[in-house]
Point group: C2
Chain length 207, copies 2
């Protein structure tokens, strides 16, 4: 779960509490509608009907379609885990395959790119995506990198600023390549592709 984003004072709140079932039902209905209709034909009225709630309830909780879809899609990526396979190459292959499996879901494919596109013109939305999707998963790079350095597979960087830049670069290269392969080239990121990708990432094009 992403957590309630409208709780200004999470302490005392008299009155009827918001239905937690409604939240999960709405997000599930959003993903269902994304699968059947895609982003552009998805309407909030339709999502409300699917979820069994009133349309006004939706507007009370989310500012619009963008925010709703971000929350609905973000939940999908929480399943990502970094396996410990003994080597950096195997770890990368494992997590990339998981990432590819999520991007193979139609609800992720249609929703993710659409909100990213909208975010190019909406600073607040971009921050929401960063917080609930990007930064949440950057932990995988940090963890894998630390493990590899402990194993001696990667050189340790002392300068923390330079290390942060490297982490960002790796994240952009990994996530970008898988997204581009899956959504733009529209080819499956299968085991063979992942192996080739990991080889280039670790050893470069020259070898």
């Amino acid at each position: 779960m992403v957590g309630c984003m409208h709780s200004r004072s999470p302490a005392v709140r008299s009155g009827r509490p918001r239905s937690a079932e409604a939240d999960t039902a709405i997000l599930a209905a959003t993903r269902e509608a994304l699968v059947e209709l895609g982003w552009s034909k998805l309407t909030l009225g339709d999502v409300a009907t699917r979820a069994g709630v009133a349309k006004t309830t939706l507007y009370r909780r989310w500012a619009g379609k963008n925010e709703l879809v971000v929350d609905a899609v973000a939940e999908l990526f929480d399943a990502l885990e970094l396996p410990d396979c003994g080597s950096l190459a195997a770890d990368i292959e494992g997590v990339v395959l998981q990432f590819a499996a999520i991007l193979a879901l139609p609800e992720a494919r249609s929703g993710l790119m659409a909100v990213v596109a909208e975010a190019t013109r909406d600073e607040v939305l971009r921050e929401r995506i960063r917080a609930s999707v990007v930064d949440r998963q950057k932990r995988l790079v940090l963890e894998g990198r630390a493990r590899a350095q402990a194993r001696g597979e990667l050189p340790a960087e002392e300068d923390p600023e330079s290390a942060a830049r490297t982490v960002d670069l790796i994240f952009d290269m990994v996530a970008g390549a898988v997204v581009h392969r899956t959504l733009v080239s529209a080819e499956p990121a299968d085991e063979e592709w992942v192996r080739s990708f990991t080889r280039v990432l670790l050893q470069g094009l020259g070898s």
Copy 2:
């Protein structure tokens, strides 16, 4: 230009010819509307007004918003050229910087990702994007690779099938990383970043 896509028989066509100025005006108006309004708020009626043509003229030439924006954005990428800087690393840095400059344009940012998102549910649209954007620019990878192999910087592959897979992989890695850096991480792909990226791409993470 992408070329007329409705000419079933390009030979004899009696009657009043379609205005070429209208085509360029419409595509320019589309990019202008993308900058000011973004994808979701762009309407075909608005584009028609900006271009100084009737709304019906738009619908006679394009099936819908998706197809129109693909053509409008595709023109932006035709400016890409592969510089000959003497080394593979310098060539890559040059072309990636050009690519990043295009992605920095607001009309490219908002439009490109949106149509890619729509293409996840539209086979015909996906093919249109592949033909007018992706495959058109894959030539850069082919050319740069051939040059580098002639220089001895890259090993030559005999198997043409394996070579094609490598070209696709490189394209996904380069384009994906730049797109992710620019649109998702929302950080500029400046010279420093491009240098780091090229270094990892050519030599891998280990060095």
